[in-house]
């Protein structure tokens, strides 16, 4: 039986709080941890079916045009150019395969063929020696050189911002630039495809199996039923594995054609070209406030880019309308159609760059109005969502600001250039963290055996997010079992479909479906015990009702099965759902070299119920460091002549390394959100990026008096502005 819940109403009293096991929320070690630390967890490219051949993708060396012909190279079994091969990855949650037809080139680096050989060495050599003839087309590659589209639905305006700007005693009007960012997950995209008759099994690095299955079936021209996807372990995603990509489609086509399994692994450089990039942005921010620091005007104009016809555009201003109140507001969203690689979701699309820049602007306003940056934020927290006047589902920004200031010793902050240690200027900065929250559809199945062991099954993925562990904890809590008696099986489309990992909705959505499945099982136990489900207590494998207590093995004769299905309902619209927090950073800026060292960082986050404090904290650490990369080091540079990504490896695209990262502190602001279902938990994986870079950039200003508005704040930009 399936227990179904549509979240139409808030659930203030969570049944999970009445349960006795006490395992939910505990900082338990990861269930799959022993496999990971011993190298036994097997990722996408890590199985070896008999007779497997190796494929290497071939990339276009022109910005746009046609492939006229490819000459076979010696050593290859096949050079595959199939009309079904895709030009770029599917966007997250797409229901169909992305645009196919590799003979048309839309950007430099696009996959145009697959070379297959008996070994990787032979395939790579053959791929490097192909002779390819092209018909080259001239296309725009610079976002500022074209007239951008202004999608009408994405513009909005209230009041008269120009007038507010003119009349305000204090204002900021400036332009920021953020470069293209890459997700750069450590596991390169990879797939192994194996056919059995007209059915295919594809093992791949994917975040969202249920929609990936539809995309892949559509791309291959087969029915979804004939396709099984496996992604038991995923070596990081950060958005780059939301949709199917070229390697998996090519592997499946080649495996079919050759009648043997085929493995395709992208090179690191190919990952930079073929995984979705986060669009570069140009952001103009206008802020106006009165003498008390009350915002009277907010303007946020964004220019982003994508390929012609691509429906995704970086939602830079997503959080701007509801983060702070002001009577006069304007949002502008412009999209330049150019031929760089496809843009899509990278961890916290929108807020990662939108909130970061906005919070830098707010710091400039605080300086202009001579108001403490924390006080300025506190003064402008709206009580309801501006414009719509919807209430917030929960809102702990003020708490996160107060507690953060206290913990970080914010009161010790001095004006710029006042703290000097040797050749280093020291400064402190802060920013608000905010990210929209959403619940999505999810299904799960739970089986409880007479031996008191439970199995959780869903096609949800664990991309490092702790999903195995938290789903196990939820089931253990709801069924009254020690954690080690719950087995969690994920990443297989044979299991009930979840929406997957993305948009920070995975834990809360999948977690709720597992909880519902357990409720269904509890109902069956209650029936066997002859009591109502509410009167049933399950703990350590014992079932209790009234004055009867029995081991589960005495109650259950055959396995009990329950399925859970959650879908979003009215609370999606009736309230504004978001997660909140605050970021704090202390940096040292070298007077002579312009080098920035982050000395300490603190993050406070409110994300509803914390399901596992250990894995939740790790998510936050990861996000804060992602933000550090945005502030200081990360830039995927494009060649202005042909648009290709220049810094396309890990030696040139600088993600933060060990030596960049000091000890980081994370705290959770206690919170439950009743509007997201019985779990009362919200998204956690993205909030911690949103604004963390701003805290660092604001700290740089506080250290040495320099505002870097062209991210990242590399030493050359700081030196240029430092007077000796």
């Amino acid at each position: 039986m399936t227990r179904h819940l549509r979240v139409d109403e808030p659930i203030h009293d969570s049944p999970l709080d009445q349960m006795a096991q006490g395992v939910l929320g505990q900082p338990l070690n990861r269930l799959e941890g022993p496999l990971k630390v011993s190298g036994r967890a097997t990722y996408a490219a890590e199985s070896r079916p008999r007779g497997m051949a190796y494929g290497v993708l071939v990339q276009a060396a022109i910005p746009a045009g046609k492939v006229l012909g490819i000459e076979d190279a010696p050593g290859a079994i096949a050079v595959i150019q199939d009309k079904r091969m895709i030009r770029y990855a599917a966007q997250g949650l797409a229901e169909e395969g992305p645009k196919a037809g590799p003979e048309e080139v839309e950007y430099m680096g696009q996959a145009i063929a697959l070379v297959v050989a008996d070994s990787l060495e032979a395939a790579r050599h053959a791929a490097q020696n192909l002779k390819i003839r092209y018909d080259v087309q001239d296309v725009p590659v610079d976002p500022t050189a074209v007239v951008p589209e202004l999608p009408p639905k994405k513009q909005s305006s209230t009041g008269d911002l120009d007038k507010a700007m003119q009349q305000a005693p204090f204002s900021v009007d400036a332009v920021w630039h953020t470069p293209t960012h890459a997700a750069a997950a450590m596991e390169p995209h990879a797939a192994i495809a194996e056919w059995d008759g007209d059915s295919v099994t594809i093992r791949a690095g994917l975040q969202m199996l249920s929609s990936n299955r539809k995309q892949m079936a559509d791309a291959l021209g087969i029915r979804p039923k004939k396709l099984r996807l496996l992604a038991p372990y995923v070596g990081g995603g950060f958005g780059s594995k939301l949709g199917i990509n070229a390697e998996a489609v090519a592997a499946a086509i080649a495996a079919r054609e050759l009648g043997r399994p085929v493995q395709v692994v992208m090179t690191r450089q190919q990952v930079f070209d073929l995984a979705h990039r986060r669009s570069e942005t140009r952001q103009r921010i206008r802020l106006a406030c009165d003498h008390e620091g009350r915002l009277t005007g907010i303007g946020h104009e964004a220019l982003v880019s994508n390929l012609p016809g691509s429906d995704f555009s970086e939602p830079v201003t997503q959080a701007t309308p509801f983060t702070y109140a002001a009577a006069h507001r304007q949002i502008v969203h412009a999209v330049a159609r150019i031929h760089r690689s496809c843009a899509g979701s990278v961890r916290a699309p929108g807020e990662a760059v939108g909130v970061t820049v906005f919070e830098c602007a707010l710091d400039e306003l605080a300086e202009a109005a001579d108001i403490d940056p924390v006080a300025l934020r506190l003064r402008n927290i709206p009580t309801v969502e501006p414009d719509t006047e919807r209430p917030f589902s929960s809102h702990k920004l003020a708490e996160a600001l107060h507690e953060g200031a206290e913990r970080f010793n914010w009161s010790e902050r001095r004006p710029p250039r006042q703290r000097v240690e040797g050749e280093w200027f020291i400064g402190m900065g802060m920013a608000t963290a905010v990210r929209v929250n959403q619940l999505v559809e999810a299904r799960a199945k739970v089986t409880l055996g007479p031996d008191g062991r439970a199995i959780v099954e869903t096609d949800m993925t664990d991309i490092g997010t702790g999903t195995y562990t938290i789903l196990g904890q939820i089931a253990a809590e709801a069924l009254g079992l020690p954690q080690e008696r719950v087995e969690v099986r994920l990443g297989d489309t044979d299991f009930p479909p979840a929406t997957g990992s993305g948009g920070s909705f995975g834990a809360a959505s999948s977690g709720t479906s597992v909880y519902l499945a357990c409720e269904e099982v509890r109902q069956q136990i209650a029936k066997a015990m002859g009591c109502e489900a509410v009167d049933l207590t399950l703990q350590n494998g014992l079932a209790r009702a009234g004055n009867v207590e029995k081991p589960l093995s005495d109650v259950i004769q055959s396995p009990l099965v329950g399925e859970g299905y959650v879908e979003p309902g009215k609370t999606e619209k009736s309230v504004r759902q978001a997660t909140w927090g605050s970021h704090w950073a202390e940096v040292a800026v070298n007077r002579w070299t312009g080098e920035v060292r982050v000395r300490r960082m603190l993050g406070l986050f409110s994300c509803g119920r914390i399901l596992n404090e250990k894995t939740a904290r790790s998510q936050c650490l990861g996000g804060m460091v992602f933000g550090m990369g945005i502030a200081l080091t990360e830039a995927l540079e494009h060649d202005p002549r042909d648009g290709h990504a220049v810094t396309r490896d890990l030696g040139e695209y600088h993600i933060p390394c060990h030596a960049d990262v000091p000890h980081l502190e994370v705290h959770f602001v206690p919170e439950r959100d009743p509007y997201v279902g019985p779990l009362q938990a919200k998204g956690i994986g993205e909030l911690s990026i949103c604004g963390s870079g701003a805290a660092i950039l604001n700290a740089i200003h506080n250290a040495c008096g320099i505002r870097v508005r062209d991210l990242p704040a590399t030493p050359d930009k700081i030196i240029a502005a430092l007077d000796p």
């Binding site: 070690n29 496999l35 630390v37 490219a45 490092g464 804060m624 933060p656 390394c657």
Partner: protein, 174 residues
């Protein structure tokens, strides 16, 4: 070409293409996929293994160059049921998320602690002569060849420090 690899204490005869890296020989020919490929260019450290006790990038080493050397991979460091003390600390401190960089981090840290014990200084060391303080900065500097996009860095350093501390106590007691 025929080569013999001395791997985790066992000798393996292989017929490999001369172009095969040690990393690909491990992953493709021997099915030892604990050693990861993150970049194939010596830029990420995911492929770190020990060669005669020293950490190397197996993607920058041809398989035939490893003949006659003792190679230890993550599979030789511990098993899920019998983790090494360092692996256990990674687990307890949550020194990983997706786990893809983790075998490299653990192999690297295993050798790094030996380097410190042997008195090799780093850029972060206060002096050229040991003994070195196992500070956050010292460990972070020495581990910087191992990237982690999940950014478990804080936890990794804590895990390594704890393992080193426990080891020192153990040695003192002995």
């Amino acid at each position: 070409m025929d080569i013999t690899l001395d791997l985790n204490g066992t000798s393996h005869r292989l017929d490999v293409d001369p172009r095969t890296t040690l990393l690909d020989a491990l992953r493709h020919d021997l099915g030892l996929t604990g050693t990861k490929k993150g970049c194939d260019h010596g830029q990420c450290g995911a492929c770190t293994v020990l060669m005669d006790g020293r950490r190397i990038n197996s993607c920058l080493t041809l398989a035939c160059m490893a003949e006659g050397k003792e190679i230890t991979t993550i599979e030789g460091i511990g098993t899920p049921d019998q983790l090494s003390p360092l692996q256990q600390q990674f687990l307890d401190h949550d020194g990983f998320q997706c786990g893809y960089c983790t075998p490299g981090q653990i192999c690297s840290a295993t050798a790094m602690l030996e380097e410190i014990a042997a008195g090799w200084p780093s850029h972060a060391s206060g002096s050229l002569e040991g003994p070195f303080d196992l500070s956050h900065a010292e460990i972070a500097e020495r581990m910087s060849g191992n990237l982690c996009r999940c950014a478990a860095y804080s936890n990794i350093v804590a895990a390594i420090r704890q393992a080193a501390k426990a080891d020192a106590l153990h040695k003192d007691a002995a």
